[in-house]
């Protein structure tokens, strides 16, 4: 079936709503407007305003209400329009959703799913372009996922809803229009493992989410040069699939992490540190990182592009890794 990332996500929501009465979607403009990025278009008509629930502009309030509803036996999907606005709800996410189970000694789990749009690339400037999923991956108690493919967009939500604990789903804004083929019976996707997206033996390119297409393009460019890159899509950013990371780097002995987050303190730093910890004696080159420039993302197209990981920079980093040292 030919479909888009947006439609795959919508199908996932529709499917979950049909399967389980306790599931509902709540957020700004999910209903009457049709969803800021049209993900929930048509769902209000199918499920009504109770279950496709428009909220006031009250991020902290409705995220907290989602936590409470989860405690009360529902399976809420809370949509935050853009990752930047999630900062308004961070107290609820960190101090409550992520902490309640542990601090109550195992009594109160929070089966909540929060979806949000992340990332740059659409000239939305500094207050709508952050990539904070790697930052969120620092918080114990949260599971962080970033579907990069149609199958993952379709399959991760149901698994997230079955998780007894909070799951945050980050959808990169540039992916919604991605078109492709999806199996008619595309099923649930686990939230534990990374996925190989391209096999190769010379260098491991490790990425996730919105930069996966860029990395795959870079891999093709490298192939043309005779460098055979393996591409690993992390999919789940917390907890990281250490086995998959270790396996690919043990094979290639060289790694470049590509991450749209700002470099300092990024997820790529964690991955780099872990690779070095586990594979220090197997590495033929230091782990490379291609991240966003450490600036609030500017509006002007050329400046925005200059700030983001690009095919050129990935190719250059991969070459450097391959030609390094030995």
């Amino acid at each position: 079936m030919k479909t888009s990332y947006r439609e795959a996500m919508r199908e996932a929501i529709r499917d979950a709503m049909r399967r389980d009465d306790r599931v509902f979607l709540m957020g700004e403009d999910v209903g009457h407007y049709g969803g800021c990025y049209a993900v929930s278009l048509g769902l209000l008509e199918e499920f009504g305003p109770d279950r496709i629930r428009d909220t006031p502009l009250s991020e902290s309030g409705f995220v907290g209400a989602g936590i409470g509803a989860a405690l009360g036996g529902m399976r809420p999907i809370v949509e935050i329009m853009t990752v930047n606005f999630s900062l308004l709800a961070l107290d609820q996410i960190v101090n409550n959703a992520a902490s309640l189970l542990h601090m109550s000694g195992g009594q109160f789990n929070v089966p909540l799913v929060i979806r949000m749009t992340t990332g740059a690339g659409r000239q939305l400037a500094a207050q709508h372009s952050h990539s904070l999923e790697g930052w969120y991956a620092h918080i114990p108690g949260l599971r962080i996922v970033a579907p990069a493919t149609l199958a993952d967009a379709r399959g991760m939500l149901w698994t997230a809803l079955e998780d007894p604990d909070p799951v945050l789903i980050f959808e990169h804004g540039t992916l919604y229009n991605a078109q492709g083929e999806l199996d008619d019976d595309a099923g649930p996707v686990d939230l534990d493992t990374a996925a190989g997206r391209r096999p190769g033996g010379d260098v491991s390119l490790i990425t996730y989410g919105g930069t996966l297409p860029t990395v795959l393009e870079a891999a093709e460019r490298l192939a043309a040069d005779g460098i055979d890159a393996e591409v690993l899509d992390l999919r789940t950013l917390r907890p990281l699939d250490d086995d998959a990371i270790t396996a690919t780097v043990a094979k290639t002995h060289r790694a470049v992490v590509v991450d749209e987050g700002w470099r300092s303190g990024s997820l790529s730093a964690e991955i780099s540190a872990r690779i070095t910890e586990r594979l220090f004696y197997d590495l033929d080159a230091p782990v490379g990182r291609v991240c966003s420039a450490e600036v609030p993302i500017p509006y002007a197209r050329h400046m925005e592009l200059a700030a983001l990981p690009s095919v050129d920079r990935i190719v250059a980093a991969a070459r450097e890794a391959v030609h390094a040292g030995g």
Binding site: R22, F24, D50, T55, P56, S58, S60, G61, F62, V63, G64, A65, G66, I67, G68, A69, A70, L71, G72, G73, M74, P76, D91, Q92, N95, N96, L100, L101, H102, M103, S104, G105, G106, Q107, F108, N109, P140, G141, R143, P164, D165, D190, D192
Partner: protein
């Protein structure tokens, strides 16, 4: 309705529990922050008397009494403050984070106003599932300045959710007097601005609290949407064990102590001395047993440290 004498007994239980906590803190058995409720007992006692068994309570870090009144045992509470695994949260929460699933006691929230959205969500779940349960949310008047207060009241009113908001107005948030932090100090009025029926109540008079709470809970349960009580009360002790109380006059405290809710009710009931003595003896016995229980408590094994970051799941 709960008999007045039972209300007296409940207030006394809370008072003795808190006095015990203060002693144990001085003896370094309890650590961290400790906030006691002495002087404010009529509020939680009166409100709790109006609740059904499957109603939910969300409270603050000043919540020992609320937990006790909800049905959490003094044993489990004190063991928690001792940091023992026999505590209601295995010793992980301590004084500020009492939780109890069995009695639907949702904490023990130490972020001021952070519990309000949770209460809204609990009520939303009840409403969506067609249950006639009520969620009661306690918070101090300091919480009223937080954005989450405003967002929560609006959501509850907009969706007509079964929440009873109970603002424990003891006039101070730590050392800051209400008049120094609110342009409008009439708190019930604020709730009205969200179209929520709201009343101020004398929070030193447990009978008034119980009666008003009963009516409010009935209205909420009956589908009347959220209601709001401003309970005017006073904390007799310091904010926490670290508070040197520079911000208020001893005379002010003394004036309020004259209205001690326990003494007031005891006087008005003209309780025979012997019944009072017996009541005290019972409560003391309860607390002695609780202290003994906590003393006998054991440490959670450190290997369990990372347990419950996520739920124990069946291995896939």
């Amino acid at each position: 309705m709960t008999e007045p004498v039972d209300l007296l007994r409940q207030m006394l239980r809370v008072r003795r529990l808190e006095e015990t906590c203060v002693e144990l803190y001085s003896a370094a058995k309890i650590r961290g922050f400790l906030h006691v409720y002495i002087g404010e007992e009529a509020v939680a006692t009166g409100v709790s008397s109006a609740l059904a068994a499957d109603d939910a309570v969300v409270a603050t870090y000043r919540e020992h009494g609320h937990a006790l009144l909800r049905g959490v045992s003094a044993e489990a509470i004190l063991a928690e403050m001792y940091g023992k695994q026999e505590g209601c949260c295995r010793g992980r929460g301590g004084s500020m984070h009492l939780f109890d699933a069995a009695t639907r006691f949702y904490g023990g929230n130490a972020i001021v106003a952070g519990g309000l959205p949770l209460a809204v969500g609990l009520a939303l779940a009840d409403k969506m599932q067609g249950r006639d349960r009520v969620t009661v949310c306690f918070f101090g008047e300091g919480a009223v300045a937080e954005g989450e207060f405003h967002e929560s009241l609006n959501l509850a009113a907009l969706w007509r959710l079964p929440v009873l908001f109970c603002c424990e107005n003891n006039l101070y948030a730590m050392g800051t007097a209400l008049r120094l932090v609110e342009s409008e100090t009439d708190i019930a009025l604020k709730a009205s601005a969200y179209e929520i029926p709201a009343w101020p109540v004398d929070g030193m008079d447990v009978l008034a609290v119980a009666e008003t709470a009963r009516r409010a809970v009935d209205a909420v349960r009956g589908g009347g949407g959220p209601h709001f009580l401003e309970l005017r009360t006073y904390r007799f002790r310091a904010h926490s064990m670290f508070d040197p109380e520079r911000y208020r006059e001893k005379a002010e405290v003394a004036r309020w102590v004259e209205r001690d809710p326990i003494e007031t009710l005891r006087a008005s009931l003209a309780l025979p001395e012997q019944e009072w003595t017996e009541m005290q003896r019972d409560v003391d016995a309860e607390l002695q047993a609780a202290v003994a229980f906590a003393e006998a408590g054991t440490d959670e094994p450190v290997e369990e440290l990372t347990r419950f970051v996520h739920s124990d799941r069946p291995a896939r």
